[in-house]
């Protein structure tokens, strides 16, 4: 088990090094001038040249690359051009909000996706199946910014069920920052007013993002459920006299979840990166927006830092998924390759 985790971490490091190299070279080939965005449209040429020296962009490529790798190895992600502070600080600032959003979205996807998938499988090719498949497809097929605005229009503006965009009502004081996730911090601080408000704020963006992840989960649950339902041990369960509900929940679901877990893990990764547009629309101060802006302004340090973090999260999530997978599926012994 431990050995397995170590091996996974080892490949993770290789992947991260690959990402560093790829990112650097992408930034090289991109014919954008980062200084242009730092300097702004009106700055005269001299200013740009001065900044070039200041940021070390006048050095030869290999020198830049060497310095870049050296810094990264010292866990120094450098300073962001767009916020003027260490990228690491920025990430610590913005990432929890994204994690909070993506996690809530994942919960939404799971809560809706799994029952939809099960219903689809049990009533295969019936109206229920068709309905749930089309419903889950709508989630992936709708442009996020459009869906987000429409939901805001309906649930915030017209019906007033949910509060304005943002993470927290401006009149409320944020609890002491521990994890950076409001829902967690407010519970730690026993500030339930904040918890309540933060929860109400997160519902709409989480729903928009969650709808996006729902289809994948519903689909895999459906197909693995179909797979499982045709297995011999399901027949065994019926022969034993179990009613259909127990057959589904006790015998089929856990087996069906085994392959679903992998997809759920991938979905989580997708939600992390899919949060860019949602964050923009819901004024969510998260990493997705930070990273997108960083790329558009060629804020190289921020891009590298953010990308590495997302990649790291992606890989860690996959590791966790594999562990859950092993937990759900006793046939996998992690020591064997």
């Amino acid at each position: 088990m431990l050995q397995y985790i170590l091996r996974r971490l080892f490949t993770l490091i290789i992947t991260l090094v690959g990402i560093m190299v790829v990112t650097f070279f992408i930034s090289l080939v991109v014919p954008l001038d980062p200084l242009a965005s730092i300097a702004g449209p009106q700055a005269p040429q001299e200013t740009v040249e001065r900044l070039r020296t200041l940021y070390g962009f006048d050095q030869p490529i290999y020198v830049q690359f060497g310095r870049y790798m050296q810094r990264l190895l010292h866990a120094d992600l450098g300073t962001s051009f767009q916020t003027g502070r260490p990228v690491l600080d920025d990430i610590i600032q913005y990432f929890p909000a994204t994690i909070e959003l993506a996690t809530m979205a994942l919960i939404v996807s799971i809560i809706i996706g799994i029952p939809l998938g099960i219903l689809s499988a049990v009533y295969r090719n019936s109206a229920v199946d068709h309905f749930s498949r089309v419903l889950s497809l709508i989630g992936v097929s709708m442009p996020v910014f459009w869906l987000g605005l429409v939901l805001l229009l309906i649930f915030y503006f017209k019906l007033g069920w949910f509060p304005e965009p943002g993470r927290l009502d401006i009149m409320l004081i944020e609890p002491e920052r521990i994890t950076g996730m409001l829902l967690v911090d407010s519970v730690i601080a026993l500030d339930f007013e904040v918890f309540w408000d933060a929860l109400k704020h997160i519902v709409l963006p989480a729903a928009v993002l969650g709808l996006y992840g729902l289809a994948g989960i519903a689909r895999i649950v459906r197909s693995s459920m179909l797979d499982v339902l045709s297995q011999e041990y399901i027949k065994t369960a019926r022969i034993k006299g179990l009613n259909e509900f127990l057959v589904l929940t006790r015998h089929a679901l856990r087996n069906a979840l085994v392959p679903a877990v992998t997809v759920i893990g991938l979905t989580y990764g997708g939600l992390l990166e899919g949060s860019v547009l949602t964050e923009t629309i819901f004024s969510w101060p998260g990493l997705g927006r930070y990273l997108a802006t960083a790329f558009l302004t060629l804020d190289l340090n921020a891009v590298v830092g953010g990308t590495m973090l997302v990649a790291l999260m992606f890989s860690l999530v996959n590791l966790v998924v594999d562990l859950i997978y092993a937990f759900l599926n006793p046939q996998i012994t992690l020591t064997a390759s």
Partner: protein, 300 residues
């Protein structure tokens, strides 16, 4: 073996054709049985027809701006209303089907062969080469997809063609993964072993026997990915890296129109619905293709 059995070439041809027809007929029955698939296929066929006959279907010049006529609501003159520059949205949606189809098809044509070749090769050869190729695909997979696409689109300059290349680059690892997994599953199958024991070369096995087995799941995956491809292209357009205005690209139209969403809902919503329908069409068709290609379905 010295008995010679003459065979009429015409008859052989006829029977071969008959076998194929039987296969197609079974496919047709399976297709008919899957109602959602019928819907999906109809949507895609409809899209193809719209793209083919765009000049006949369009009521206006899709580029013509009539500024005084901007933001008109849908009417009999402008079926889908007009946009912020006074262009006829219906005609732009109709012409946009060409752009959408081009993007979807070209991405498919670039990323799937790439993924297929890499995946089958890695899976079949195994060992260090497999490890290297898979680490490489890990790197690409771990990158946020949109950001990777942005990077490549930015590197190559804006434009539909470059957006296509960018999306393909971001997409191949998932196909490679899939092809590799399929290859690993098939590699040790009895029928591959038989062919190998009969003296077939590795190249022949990979090309002639393993690739066809991977193809169906790749096709299914691709048809399910079509939606994402279209939406990613739209996202790139939104960031200024995809299709360039005034190209009537649907994603561009949706994002351009979002400032009017509250008061002039049609500007953004109608192209959005077009995306929705087409993405759904591809998805439903993909689900159906999986059923049709599944040999188990045929036996029942």
């Amino acid at each position: 073996m010295n008995v010679t059995h003459a065979i009429d070439k015409n008859e052989a041809r006829r029977r071969r054709w008959e076998a194929r027809r039987r296969y197609l007929k079974d496919s047709y029955i399976l297709w008919r049985r899957n109602r959602l698939m019928v819907v999906g296929t109809c949507i895609i066929v409809f899209l193809l027809l719209v793209a083919a006959f765009a000049p006949l279907l369009a009521t206006h010049d899709s580029y013509e701006q009539i500024l005084p006529d901007r933001l008109l609501a849908p009417s009999t003159k402008h079926y889908f209303g007009t946009d912020g520059l006074g262009r006829d949205i219906y005609s732009r949606v109709v012409y946009g089907s060409r752009v959408t189809l081009t993007i979807a098809c070209l991405v498919a044509a670039i990323s799937t062969p790439l993924g297929l070749v890499i995946g089958v090769f890695a899976g079949y050869v195994g060992g260090a080469i497999d490890e290297i190729l898979m680490r490489l695909s890990d790197v690409f997979l771990a990158f946020p997809k949109l950001i990777l696409a942005i990077a490549f689109a930015a590197a190559l300059g804006p434009g539909v063609e470059n957006a296509i290349v960018a999306i393909s680059v971001a997409n191949w690892p998932s196909y490679a993964r899939l092809a590799r997994a399929e290859t690993l599953g098939v590699r040790n199958n009895d029928y591959i072993q038989v062919i190998r024991s009969m003296g077939a070369s590795n190249l022949r096995i990979m090309v002639g026997h393993i690739t066809p087995m991977c193809l169906s799941s790749i096709i299914v995956r691709l048809s399910l990915d079509m939606g994402t491809i279209i939406l990613t292209a739209a996202g790139l357009g939104f960031l200024g890296l995809g299709a360039q205005p005034p190209t009537p690209e649907w994603g561009l139209m949706v994002s351009d129109g979002r400032q009017f969403l509250v008061d002039q809902w049609w500007v953004s919503t109608l192209p959005g619905i077009a995306i929705l329908i087409v993405v759904m069409g591809f998805n439903l068709m993909g689900d159906g293709i999986r059923d049709i290609l599944d040999p188990h379905q045929r036996q029942s």
